[in-house]
Symmetry: C2
């Protein structure tokens, strides 16, 4: 009975992914509530430990406990482990361990990996997974070293290395936790070109997706980027520029944010914010002081988010591109959706529409519920919900004031957002078999 | 040269519709600014007259001038004429005049009518147009009589008839203007079952669309409603119930809105609000006092709006149904979109996606701009923008405080919303011819 149930369960990759992530969150909760995890040696309440564990595993970065001051060194390593597992995806990591142990990868494992990496084909999956770890660890190591070199100017070498590793992993995995204390994120480095550029590069490499990274490294031999990589890179560049310009213009004269800075610093801060709003969630200025228009623009950037198969969230750059292109085709009276002279399969367009609509429905539903339970302005709630769902982790100020109910709902949003609404749909529902008959076409009037 | 240009212009029905509506708005502006139109005999400023004319022609009902007290009787008749022209659609009206004058209806006129009524085929268009006028005027006449009978209890018979006609036309055409003064809408009748039910019936008949009305009247002979009518009626019923329950629950204990009323009155007010939020825009309670969650729920109701070929706005009930059904199909792993055992043509699904996405983009863009130019909270701005775009006319309080720029933008939103984003797309762009080649399919990863 149990065996049969387990076999059926294991046969559904989305279900295994959901259960695996949930298991990591609960193990993280148990570890983070230990007295050893807190700096003061106190036991952390279940709900607080759960919220933090969910935030770390879903690489979101919304924090009610001040990472730098509340947790012990042990707590920091637990957090880093959760971020690393959540960022790389637990299946990737799990299978890699299996690979290193010399075990063979079964077809079932491959299927789960395929779902988890969002790849269309099984070929090269194992090779890709091996690369994922190689790339991730290499980039994180270089990032840690470069951060450590900078931090040595203001702390002991041992501490600088510790800070270097933590921030490199946290930023590459688009988690956005920091050790600087008082929920200040990286505001101390607002004008620091070195720290800003290093952060932007790490966020970009983490958020662009392993497929694109791998594609870029093979560019010398292949000479041509895949359609997927071209779309990701162009849309990312477009969003970074649009975000930077929007934030710069809207906040230029705001004395509480960019106003007091010089032009170079303004540009640097706007660029960092544009890049990190699409998932990483670090900041060098006080988000709560931003104007409404800027916060709304950031909500839209968060919604689009990073790219598929990456450490980031949101509906993804490719979804945005396909949707925009589908609308444009329809407006021009064309039936094919075309990107870079390639036709996009009809099923991909449907998937893009579905992911976007489900995401909108989830976000709007959560906003409506929270505007009943929480005492906050509508925009602040929308900002928080989008930040959780797109695993961004920026807050305009309400994370610390959440009611217990609000905490659970925000944690659920991070979880659903990290795995994507379709993963949940497939995990819950039995994907109904093909129907053998088609209904006759009916007439209806639209718009 | 001019003749050639005119011929090309006339060959594009969407362009004629846009130009025709714009012409009515400008004629209305000129008439409303005349001293004869105001009760005090003063000349109304251009911008104010333009805003009111746009609001009347687009049957929106957002008003900066108090309809009941600011305008003279002449002004009221001008407003009523604009509402009637805007509600029935100027082409319908225009061709009907031509019909009555004994002229033949040309194929070109029929094409324009087809676009304007959103009908798939040319057959029966002229018959339909004749019916539109018959139904509309009959319903308005009965509504006026029933309103007048009620108003006679509190005013002179002459005045009661005048009020009866004005409110019947205004409510049937989903315009939502009223003569009661001080921007109170129908708050004086919050517990009046007769006035509430009459209003709900008029709004429903106006918002359900002429096609459905005609279908319902032919039910005796045909025995079966068309797919279109079934979708419209079920979705309308669903939205009315969901809206009523949501408003009732969220406002039940709010002492500034439904709180002080008895249960029956609460239910009546919630139902009226649910029905009129999807385009008519009349109200019996103070919208500004509603809770954030209620206002947000109303924003979603406004977005969906009324049904195609009606006096109401929004993306329309059928668009909502097709979109929801498409998402559901995709979630179930099915390729066909099915409503009531009828398959929905792929091009209709595309149109539903496009209308929705364009509407979202327009609304969000306008909200972002207005949150820079206007000093209002985000939710109030979103409410106002959605109310204008979906030609609803409810206001949470900012219409009177709009900056001149804000007035123009809101007027443009009413105009675009009334005609629909696709009409504008087709009017502006040359619908590019079919491409004779297809691009090869490319691979991309979504979500
Ligand atoms: K994050
Ligand atoms: K209206």
């Amino acid at each position: 009975m149990l065996k049969k149930w387990l076999r059926r369960f294991y046969a559904s990759p989305p279900r295994v992914i959901v259960a695996g992530f949930a298991a990591i969150i609960f193990i993280g909760t148990a570890l983070l509530r230990l007295p050893a995890s807190s700096a003061s040696g106190e036991t952390t309440p279940w709900l607080e430990a759960f919220f933090y564990s969910a935030s770390a595993t879903c690489v979101t970065g919304l924090a009610r406990l001040d990472t730098g001051t509340y947790f012990s060194a042990f707590g920091h390593w637990v957090i880093l482990a959760l971020v690393q597992l959540g960022g790389l995806g637990f299946m990737t990591t799990g299978t890699l361990f299996a690979l290193f142990a010399g075990k063979k990868v079964s077809l079932k494992d491959k299927l789960i990996l395929q779902e988890s990496l969002n790849q269309g084909s099984l070929e090269g999956i194992v090779r890709l997974v091996r690369r994922v770890l190689l790339y991730a660890l290499s980039i994180e190591a270089v990032g840690a070293l470069l951060f450590a070199l900078r931090f040595m100017q203001e702390m002991s070498p041992g501490r600088a290395i510790y800070y270097g590793i933590f921030h490199s992993v946290s930023i590459f995995n688009n988690a956005g936790f920091d050790l600087f204390g008082q929920f200040r994120s990286m505001t101390a480095y607002v004008g620091d070109v070195y720290v800003n550029l290093l952060s932007v590069v790490l966020v970009f490499l983490g958020g662009v997706g392993f497929i694109v990274l791998s594609d870029l490294l093979e560019l010398r031999t292949r000479r041509r980027l895949s359609l997927h990589s071209r779309v990701v890179l162009w849309v990312s560049a477009f969003l970074i520029v649009v975000g930077t310009v929007t934030i710069l213009i809207f906040e230029y004269t705001n004395q509480d944010s960019l106003g007091p800075l010089g032009f170079g610093e303004k540009l640097l801060a706007a660029m960092l914010q544009s890049v990190t709003t699409r998932s990483a969630g670090i900041t060098t200025v006080d988000i709560a002081s931003f104007r409404d228009a800027t916060q709304f623009a950031m909500i839209l950037l968060m919604f689009v988010g990073a790219s598929p198969g990456s450490t980031g969230g949101g509906i993804k750059t490719t979804t945005f591109a396909v949707l925009a292109s589908a609308v444009w085709s329809m407006m021009r009276g064309r039936s094919d959706v075309v990107l870079f002279r390639s036709r996009i399969e009809r099923s991909k367009v449907n998937k893009a529409v579905t992911v976007t609509m489900l995401s909108l429905a989830i976000v709007m539903g959560a906003v409506m519920i929270l505007s009943v339970t929480e005492r906050q302005s509508f925009l602040i709630i929308l900002f928080e919900v989008m930040s959780a769902y797109a695993t961004v982790g920026l807050s305009a100020g309400m994370t610390g004031d959440l009611t217990p109910f609000g905490q659970v709902l925000i944690a659920v949003l991070m979880f659903v957002g990290r795995l994507g609404p379709l993963t949940f749909t497939y995990a819950l529902g039995t994907r109904s078999g093909r129907t053998l008959y088609r209904y006759a076409e009916g007439r209806i009037i639209i718009g």
